[in-house]
């Protein structure tokens, strides 16, 4: 046994050592500025003509939750397969990652969701309609605006009839947009979905000709006018009335309706918008030599750059800074007299270069200098619109899409159809909420600022191009303006004051350094002097 001294030593070696957690220091007292989350509009949603909540449904895609993605996207846009094909995706231009590496492939992701939903439909899975209401509504025009409105009204449980003057449904989707941009089977499937929701299509019904607005108001409790902007503008040059001169929409409709056209060997398209380019490409695909004459320079062409590029690739010849003065027609040959123009910006007056005229011979002249709404639809009713809004002077009559805005995009038209459905539901006093959330997304609030891009941290967000897998690609989304719980605030807090699954900021300890706000990739966290959460600790 060891001889031990009996006295125990009172002082352990630990004397002078700290064991009390430093949590008792409420360092939140030091704070001058307080971080808080302020959601903003995403640049993509802001740029999107229908203000789709892009990052919201992308969030679902990154989780592999396609059902959730469909549910989220369809509140903004019921036809993601269509817009996935035809939309110019202004969202991608404004995407924050466009400043960093490459924009998110919003269009592709949108298309994937839409095609996923169409495959489900093809395998027999119908969209659930929660209820049926004995309310009859009419939609005039089956273009994207009309179809979108019909979709939402049907989902609300209403009896929807779509009136279409053409023998096929779809408006510009069927007759204007070239097949190479929108495969027609996609449109067919979307129409089938609508029919499965109980939407009735009446083709050949033309407002102002074989039906009247008054009659519609009689038969339906609400009417949505979405007849588009189908009245083609004139060139206002001599010879325009010749049979060898045709409007772009008229030409595209004839092609898409399968009408037998003469074999045109050479075609001149006049105009610089999307319709001009579509017509030029369609004509080129039908075997003609095609030239497109535009009165200004390429950089100010209103047509989308992608379209112009694909027209160039297809072999369309571009003539810039020329405008037609006159068209002669003789035995099937059109001779167009063109003058050169001085360079000008859009909206400026065109002036021609003196003595610069030259002739160009072709089989057909396609005029694509714009469209107007055809207001003869109102018939005897005195219809008037209220600016860009969806309501008209007639109770129960709504109007939207190109009819109101003039020629715009498919996405804008779908957005207008959606907003019309919202307005009609309100007019009809129909609650659009369901246990799974609202059928129509809440109204886009443009008074909220748009999140601005700030430099990203390449360690957290490696520079990388688009991914092949939709889930991974969706994972690149920064969710600008909206907290998607990425955790960057948590990662960079020197005070461990960000915690929990919601990344709450613990104001007991937050010293207000501001790193979280600076590093927040979504631009959601902001520093402010207003201190809302400090009641619970002494000052």
């Amino acid at each position: 046994m060891l001889p031990r001294c009996s006295e125990t030593v009172a002082i352990p070696y630990k004397i002078g050592s700290g064991t009390v957690p430093v949590l008792v220091n409420k360092t939140g007292d030091w704070r001058f500025l307080t971080p808080s989350r302020h959601e903003k509009n995403a640049p993509c949603a802001s740029a999107c003509p229908l203000h789709s909540g892009i990052s919201i449904w992308i969030d679902r895609v990154k989780e592999g939750d396609w059902q959730g993605a469909w549910a989220a996207v369809s509140r903004y846009n019921p036809f993601p397969a269509i817009t996935g094909h035809v939309c110019y995706h202004f969202c991608e231009n404004d995407c924050s990652r466009n400043h960093y590496d490459q924009s998110i492939a919003v269009g592709e992701l949108e298309k994937e969701i839409g095609l996923w939903r169409l495959r489900k439909f093809a395998s027999g899975e119908k969209l659930p309609v929660g209820r049926k209401l004995p309310i009859r509504v009419a939609v005039v025009g089956s273009g994207p605006a009309g179809l979108a409105c019909a979709y939402y009204l049907a989902m609300l449980g209403l009896e929807v009839t779509v009136l279409e003057k053409q023998p096929v449904a779809g408006g510009m989707l069927a007759l204007g947009i070239p097949e190479y941009r929108l495969p027609r089977n996609v449109l067919e499937q979307e129409l089938a979905v609508l029919r499965s929701l109980g939407v009735v299509f009446r083709n050949g019904a033309e407002l102002g000709r074989n039906i009247t607005l008054a009659q519609l108001r009689e038969d339906y409790q609400a009417v949505f006018l979405a007849t588009g902007a189908g009245k083609e503008k004139k060139l206002n040059v001599p010879g325009e009335e010749n049979p060898g001169v045709i409007g772009a929409l008229e030409y595209l409709a004839m092609v898409h309706l399968g009408k037998k056209l003469p074999d045109f060997h050479s075609i001149l398209v006049v105009g610089g918008g999307n319709a001009a380019v579509d017509a030029a490409c369609t004509a080129r695909m039908n075997g003609a030599r095609v030239a497109l004459a535009y009165r200004r320079t390429r950089d100010v062409m209103p047509a989308h750059d992608d379209e112009v590029r694909s027209a160039e690739e297809a072999g369309v010849q571009f003539l810039f800074q020329v405008q037609p003065d006159k068209i002669y027609s003789k035995s099937g040959t059109q001779t167009v007299v063109l003058s050169r123009t001085q360079s000008s910006r859009r909206g400026e007056r065109i002036s021609t270069v003196p003595n610069s005229s030259f002739n160009l011979a072709c089989d057909l002249v396609i005029v694509a200098t714009g469209q107007d709404a055809d207001l003869s639809i109102a018939g005897e009713e005195s219809l008037s619109f209220n600016g860009q809004s969806l309501i008209t002077n007639l109770p129960g009559v709504f109007a939207g899409g190109d009819l109101i805005s003039g020629p715009a995009t498919v996405a804008a038209a779908i957005g207008a159809g959606r907003e019309a459905a919202r307005a009609m539901a309100a007019y009809l006093e129909i609650d659009q909420s369901t246990p799974d959330g609202p059928i129509i997304a809440s109204i886009y609030n443009d008074s909220i600022p748009v999140a601005e891009y700030e430099t990203l941290n390449p360690s957290i967000f490696p520079k990388q191009g688009r991914a092949v897998s939709p889930e991974t690609e969706a994972g690149r989304c920064l969710s600008c303006g909206r907290c998607n719980r990425c955790g960057v605030c948590w990662v960079f807090c020197p005070d461990m004051a960000v915690a929990g699954v919601e990344f709450d900021i613990n104001l007991d300890y937050c010293k207000g350094c501001g790193i979280c706000a600076k590093e927040c990739p979504g631009g959601v966290l902001e520093m402010g002097v207003i201190d809302s959460g400090t009641e619970n600790h002494h000052r």
């Binding site: 700290g18 430093v22 949590l23 008792v24 989780e63 990388q464 994972g475 690149r476």
Partner: protein, 306 residues
């Protein structure tokens, strides 16, 4: 590509466990506190810290408090490496070979007063991790010049116009000269890189050295929210390249295709406010040279985009 979506990666790659507690008394925006927070996440529970005189003498808590969820032993200023080595040897003598002994020292305790003991511990290849968190001056005593203070910087003991005339000591070269198994630079702007390096270091036996640049808001004259951004700029401008030296082999971890101009880094720091355009070109030239030298001897690696 493929695998986990990026946002999930951000969150999942970084261990949830915290070994530092809220309530510590580091200045707002302290990148040293943040760096060590992440280092401890990688180091884990079986870690003992030896802390020499530095900002962490304060940050680790005043009696009876403690900031770390780990055992911490303080030691006199020049003795960081030797006390840590002794602690490790003491544990080894008692049969504990698994507990990591991690020494924490500032630039003063590493570049200046601690250099002799550090060099000796490295030469003996003591089985410890030595972390130098470098805020480029004696910050805890109020921003006095150290041999880690860069050329042209003001400090409490090199006030304008007598700003520092000499370049910063290249501690990594000194450390490398000891032929230790692992040395790495890191900044908290690249937390995953920092974590991965600590995770790697844990698996290596022998002397392991970390040089972590830690922008200091009061010392550098910057806002408290700039420290992560400056840590990143230091890397992107080549002021502080991220690399590892393993048994003499150099690997660059972040290799920008082109370096950002150093003015982007210097510009917002008040300590550099007296730099002339000529000074900045001189600094740029130095960086360009050392960056090229590093590229030449590194066996890197992918060139990062942008």
């Amino acid at each position: 590509m493929g695998g986990e979506p990026l946002m999930k990666q951000v969150f999942n790659d970084i261990p949830q466990e915290e070994y530092m507690l809220s309530g510590h008394t580091a200045c707002p925006g302290c990148s040293a506190a943040l760096s060590i927070r992440h280092a401890t996440k990688a180091l884990g529970k079986e870690t003992v810290f030896v802390i020499t005189a530095c900002c962490f003498s304060i940050i680790s808590g005043q009696l009876p408090l403690r900031t770390f969820e780990l055992n911490v032993f303080h030691c006199p200023f020049p003795s960081a490496a030797s006390t840590g080595s002794g602690l490790k040897r003491g544990l080894a003598a008692m049969g504990d070979t698994t507990t990591q002994v991690v020494v924490l020292a500032g630039d003063g305790g590493t570049f200046d007063i601690g250099l002799q003991g550090l060099s000796a511990a490295a030469e003996r290849n003591e089985d410890i991790i030595f972390i130098c968190y470098d805020n480029e001056a004696y910050m805890n005593t109020g921003m006095q010049r150290s041999s880690a203070t860069p050329f042209g910087s003001k400090s409490a003991t090199s006030p304008a116009p007598k700003v520092k005339e000499n370049p910063k000591k290249d501690i990594m070269k000194i450390i490398e000269a000891h032929a230790i198994p692992y040395a790495a630079t890191a900044t908290v702007a690249y937390p995953k890189d920092l974590l991965a390096k600590f995770q790697k270091a844990k698996t290596i036996k022998g002397f392991r050295f970390f040089h972590i640049l830690c922008p200091c808001p009061p010392g550098w004259g910057v806002e408290s929210d700039q420290t992560v951004e400056l840590s990143r700029l230091a890397v992107e401008t080549g002021v502080f390249p991220l690399y590892e030296v393993e048994n003499g082999e150099v690997t660059l971890n972040v290799t920008p295709q082109t370096l950002r101009p150093v003015a982007d880094y210097l510009g917002s720091q008040r300590r550099f406010s007296t730099l002339s355009a000529e000074d900045i070109s001189k600094i740029q030239a130095t960086i360009d040279r050392s960056w090229q030298a590093l590229l030449n001897r590194s066996n890197t690696a992918e060139i990062q985009e942008g």
